[in-house]
């Protein structure tokens, strides 16, 4: 029974990883570049949502929670555009590693800015700040198993977002343009696709998802802190590599899988073994299936 509880708990908490990984891998799929500022985008968006909730007293109100969530999504989208404009757009012809460095630098700038703001903005606190929501203590039992309401919300939102993204990418005109840029940006440009516009669109959508992740993760723990995104990024990186860089379905499935692995390892072995197990899996995937578990053979980009 305990094992079943760990599996369910892991699936639900893993959906937060899935949300983060979906945004992260979407940007890689189109730009073929890693956005290290994705974690910082999650964190800043979470702070934006938390601040609204603190100022409006959102501990008991679902309307304020919805407003906080919306603000976080918008903050993520705006910040995503700014990250693209500062860390990626000026380096479109530079070496692939260059945006990795600039986005990492931007992440540090964002984290330190939030650290400074946390000390001076009324309502925020230096070490960590509250994110009051009615979801925090919402629990129910499935038989003897305790389930947190916020985890169910995250699971449902992650599932809806993934299905919407799949539809958008597979069925819409913009989605076709995204897939064309993903496969071969030069050919897409020759066919009249505005590659830059596609890149901006992908950044804004992926970062809006990061905003949603930030708000939900903050609501789940009831707190936000300046380094919450950085803590998530390493696990997210393992997820997208194991799934296959650029695979949305893979990010979703592997996010859930990692949640289950983490929870069961902590419950049955020890907390310190958790990361070791993840990295053993990463190592095995890189050795035996370097393209990832859930991708077909990828086209080589220009």
């Amino acid at each position: 029974m305990l094992f079943l509880e760990y599996v369910i708990s892991g699936l639900l908490s893993g959906s937060a990883y899935s949300l983060v990984a979906i945004g992260f891998t979407l940007i890689f799929g189109v730009l073929n570049r890693l956005n290290i500022a994705h974690g910082a985008t999650i964190m800043v968006s979470a702070f934006a949502g938390a601040y609204v909730s603190i100022r409006l007293g959102g501990a008991e109100s679902y309307a304020i929670l919805l407003l906080s969530f919306s603000i976080a999504v918008v903050a993520g989208a705006v910040l995503g555009f700014l990250v693209w404009a500062t860390a990626f757009a000026p380096l479109s012809n530079a070496a692939p590693l260059a945006p990795f460095i600039t986005s990492a630098a931007l992440a540090i700038v964002l984290e330190e800015t939030v650290v400074v703001l946390s000390r001076s903005v009324p309502g925020l606190l230096p070490e960590f700040s509250p994110f009051p929501t009615p979801l925090e203590n919402l629990v129910f039992f499935v038989g003897p198993i305790l389930v947190r309401g916020v985890h169910v919300v995250i699971f449902v939102v992650a599932l809806l977002l993934m299905l919407s993204l799949q539809w958008w990418i597979l069925r819409s005109r913009t989605g076709r343009a995204i897939r064309a840029v993903e496969e071969n940006p030069t050919a897409a440009w020759l066919l009249g696709i505005n590659v830059r516009r596609v890149e901006i669109m992908v950044f804004v959508v992926a970062s809006a998802i990061a905003g949603a992740s930030g708000a939900l993760i903050g609501a789940a723990s009831g707190t936000v802190n300046a380094f919450m995104g950085a803590d998530l990024l390493l696990t997210t990186f393992v997820i997208v590599v194991v799934a296959g860089l650029g695979s949305l379905t893979g990010a979703m499935v592997c996010g859930l899988l990692v949640g289950v692995i983490e929870t069961t390892v902590v419950g049955l072995v020890s907390a310190s073994a958790k990361e070791a197990v993840l990295f053993v899996i990463l190592f095995a995937v890189l050795v035996f299936r370097p393209e990832g578990l859930m991708t077909a053979t990828r086209f080589k980009r220009d």
Binding site: P126, E127, F128, N137, L146, N225, D231, V266, S270, S272
Partner: protein, 292 residues
């Protein structure tokens, strides 16, 4: 002076480096206002600290808790990626519990970056201890506490560590942190501390915590020692100056923001009596008989 490092891992590393410098014949005075690891200043005669050394206070607090609750069983929630907390649990609290005849029935291990605590809370629910010790940083402890409260784990008492003595704990913790007892270097309701807190808030725009108090103490100690040391402060006299400064610091006494006089003992620590505080109604108040 170790400035800007409040992480015990990093602080311990600095003291170990000092010990290496002393072996090489080139030691420099190291002073910390936050490192709390028991016995760390014995590494070098140039090692000082005015940290609140929690180990003594936790032993006293454990004995007090035993007397007041009659606890027979205890459990630890402990992070393993910071040796300070494991040291406090295994080398300080466990022997005291053994001495008191209290059985340790569960140890739930975590790492600082953990955010999900269902397995840890389940371990506590299964063991059903009389007292749970929180040997983890504030955010990790808070998230664990919220999970055990959701799962209706209700020991007679939660005993925390000094890193839980922060404004964040009460403001972000809400009901989850009510009734937690921590050891503190000072009484936050004392008039001297209230005055210091007001001045600190004016200057820094923040509430004080244990490190603000020991940080200011450290500044006063060092400033006083520099004035009294008679150092020449030239490249030629550097080695001699370091010895003079060490001796001056060892002999320095200052008035702390707590109102107490602070000076170093033979091991270059500044022993402080400490006191137990409990979170009640969203604030830290002295843990006295009527606040059970």
């Amino acid at each position: 002076m170790i400035k800007g490092i409040s992480n015990s891992n990093a602080g311990i590393a600095v003291y170990n480096y000092l010990a290496e410098l002393e072996k090489a014949g080139d030691p420099i005075v190291v002073h910390s206002s936050s490192v709390g690891t028991p016995g760390i200043t014995k590494l070098s005669e140039f090692a000082f600290r005015n940290s609140f050394i929690e180990s003594d206070a936790l032993v006293a607090l454990t004995k007090e808790a035993h007397a007041r609750t009659g606890m027979k069983t205890a459990a630890f929630f402990v992070v393993t990626d910071n040796p300070y907390y494991a040291t406090m649990a295994n080398d300080v609290i466990r022997p005291t519990l053994e001495e008191l005849g209290v059985e340790v029935v569960a140890v739930a291990e975590a790492v600082t970056s953990d955010t999900a605590f269902a397995p840890h809370a389940n371990a506590m629910r299964k063991a059903d201890p009389d007292v749970i010790y929180l040997m983890a940083p504030s955010l990790t402890s808070l998230n664990f506490l919220k999970e055990v409260k959701r799962r209706q784990v209700a020991p007679d008492l939660f005993i925390g560590n000094v890193s839980l003595f922060t404004t964040e704990m009460v403001e972000a913790g809400g009901d989850a942190v009510e009734g937690i007892v921590v050891a503190s270097a000072y009484d936050p309701s004392a008039p001297t501390i209230a005055k210091f807190a007001a001045e600190y808030a004016d200057r820094h725009g923040q509430d004080i915590n244990v490190f603000s108090v020991t940080g200011y103490e450290a500044g006063y100690l060092i400033a006083e020692a520099i004035e009294k040391s008679g150092i020449a402060n030239t490249p030629e006299t550097l080695k001699e100056d370091r010895v003079k400064f060490r001796d001056a610091l060892a002999a320095t006494t200052i008035r702390s923001p707590t109102g107490e006089d602070v000076s170093f003992d033979a091991d270059r620590n500044t022993p402080k009596t400490g006191m137990a505080l409990v979170i009640k109604g969203g604030e830290f108040i002295p843990w006295v008989a009527d606040t059970n």
